[in-house]
C-alpha cells in the first residue's frame, strides 16, 4: 500500500471518529473514541515519518489522558446532558473558520516539496551541524535539548505547573487523612 493511500485511509477514519465523538451522548464511549482518535493520529504521524511525535501522541493521547478522562468520568454523570436548541450560530462559525483555513492552505507549497520554506530555512543548517556539534545521531533530540533548550525548559516548567495546578485543585484529600491516621 502506498503511503498516500494509508494517509487517506487514516484521515477518513479520523474524521469518522471525530463525527462519532460529536454525535454520541455516552461519555464512556466518547472517552474510548477519543483514545482511538489519538491512536489513529499516532499512526498518521508514523506514516509522515514523525516517529517522535507519534510516540508522544500514542503515550499521552492514547494512554494517560484516557485514564485521566475515565477518572474524571467517575466523578460526574455518564451521559451528556441534552440541550434543547441546535447551535446554528456555532455551526456557521465553524464552517466559516474551516473554509478560511482551507482557503489559507491553497497558497501553501505542495506536500513534501523540497522548496518549501520550512526545508530551506534552518533545517538544512541543523542537519549539517547537529551530529558534529552535539555528537547525537537523533537530530530531533539535539534540536529539542540543545539548540532549542530554552523551549524545552519552558515545556518542562509548563508540565510542572500543570501538576501543581491539579494538586492545588484536587489535592491528595483522602490519602492524606489515611496516611495521617497511620502516623
Amino acid at each position: 500500500m502506498s503511503p498516500l493511500f494509508i494517509d487517506i485511509l487514516l484521515f477518513t477514519l479520523l474524521a469518522m471518529t471525530a463525527l462519532a465523538i460529536v454525535r454520541l451522548r455516552n461519555l464512556f464511549a466518547v472517552t474510548m473514541l477519543a483514545s482511538i482518535f489519538s491512536l489513529l493520529a499516532a499512526g498518521l504521524f508514523v506514516n509522515l515519518d514523525a516517529v517522535d511525535v507519534a510516540f508522544t501522541e500514542a503515550a499521552v493521547g492514547g494512554g494517560i489522558s484516557t485514564v485521566l478522562m475515565l477518572c474524571a468520568l467517575t466523578l460526574t454523570k455518564r451521559d451528556e446532558k441534552r440541550t434543547g436548541h441546535t447551535a446554528w450560530l456555532a455551526l456557521l462559525l465553524c464552517a466559516v473558520t474551516g473554509a478560511g483555513l482551507v482557503y489559507g492552505t491553497l497558497d501553501m507549497p505542495a506536500f513534501g516539496s523540497p522548496d518549501a520554506p520550512i526545508h530551506t530555512h534552518v533545517a538544512p543548517d541543523y542537519i549539517a551541524r547537529a551530529k558534529a556539534e552535539t555528537g547525537v545521531p537523533n537530530i530531533v533530540t539535539a534540536v529539542l535539548a540543545s539548540y532549542r533548550g530554552y523551549d524545552t525548559l519552558g515545556e518542562t516548567t509548563v508540565i510542572f505547573a500543570a501538576g501543581i495546578a491539579v494538586l492545588l485543585l484536587l489535592g491528595f484529600k483522602r490519602s492524606d487523612k489515611r496516611e495521617g491516621g497511620e502516623e
Binding site: 494512554g63 485521566l68 510542572f160
Partner: protein, 145 residues
C-alpha cells in the same frame, strides 16, 4: 479489580517490560526516537497500570504522593541547574559546551542530563496528577460499567 485474574496476570507480565522500555527510551533517546518526555510518560503509564490493577493505595506504597511532588520539582531543578552550571562554567545559559573536556562531548553530556530532568519531571507530574484524580474517585463497582 483484585479479583480479575486475567487482568492481573497480564499486567504482571507487561509491567517489567513497560518499565524497562521506559528506561530504554530515556537513555536511547539520543540515538532513536524518544527522549525524556516519552520515557517519563511511559514510566508513569506503567505505574498507572499497576494502580489500576492493584488499587491506588498499592501505588502509594511504591511512590507516595509526596515523592511524586518531589520528583516533578527535582526534574525541573535538574534541567535549570544544568543551565545554571553551564553559566558558571563560562558559557551561555543552557550551552552545554563546558560540561566536558571538548565541546561535542559537553553537548552530549548536557543533552543526556537535561533529558533525564525532563523524564523525571514528566513521570513525577503524571503520577501526581493520576494520584490526585484517583484519590478523589470512589470505588467503582463492576456492574456500574
Amino acid at each position: 479489580m483484585s479479583h480479575h485474574l486475567v487482568l492481573r496476570v497480564v499486567a504482571n507480565l507487561l509491567l517489567p517490560f513497560i518499565l524497562v522500555f521506559a528506561l530504554y527510551v530515556q537513555w536511547h533517546g539520543d540515538n532513536g526516537p524518544g527522549g525524556g518526555f516519552q520515557a517519563g510518560v511511559v514510566f508513569a503509564a506503567g505505574m498507572i497500570l499497576y494502580a489500576l490493577v492493584y488499587g491506588v493505595d498499592a501505588l502509594k506504597k511504591v511512590i507516595p504522593a509526596k515523592t511524586s511532588i518531589i520528583l516533578m520539582s527535582l526534574g525541573v531543578l535538574i534541567y535549570a541547574g544544568t543551565g545554571l552550571s553551564s553559566l558558571f562554567l563560562g558559557h551561555d545559559f543552557l550551552d552545554y559546551s563546558g560540561l566536558a573536556a571538548n565541546s561535542t562531548q559537553g553537548q552530549e553530556r548536557g543533552i543526556l542530563i537535561v533529558e533525564l530532568g525532563v523524564g523525571i519531571a514528566v513521570a513525577g507530574a503524571m503520577i501526581a496528577i493520576f494520584t490526585a484524580f484517583a484519590g478523589r474517585t470512589p470505588e467503582i463497582e463492576d456492574k456500574e460499567w
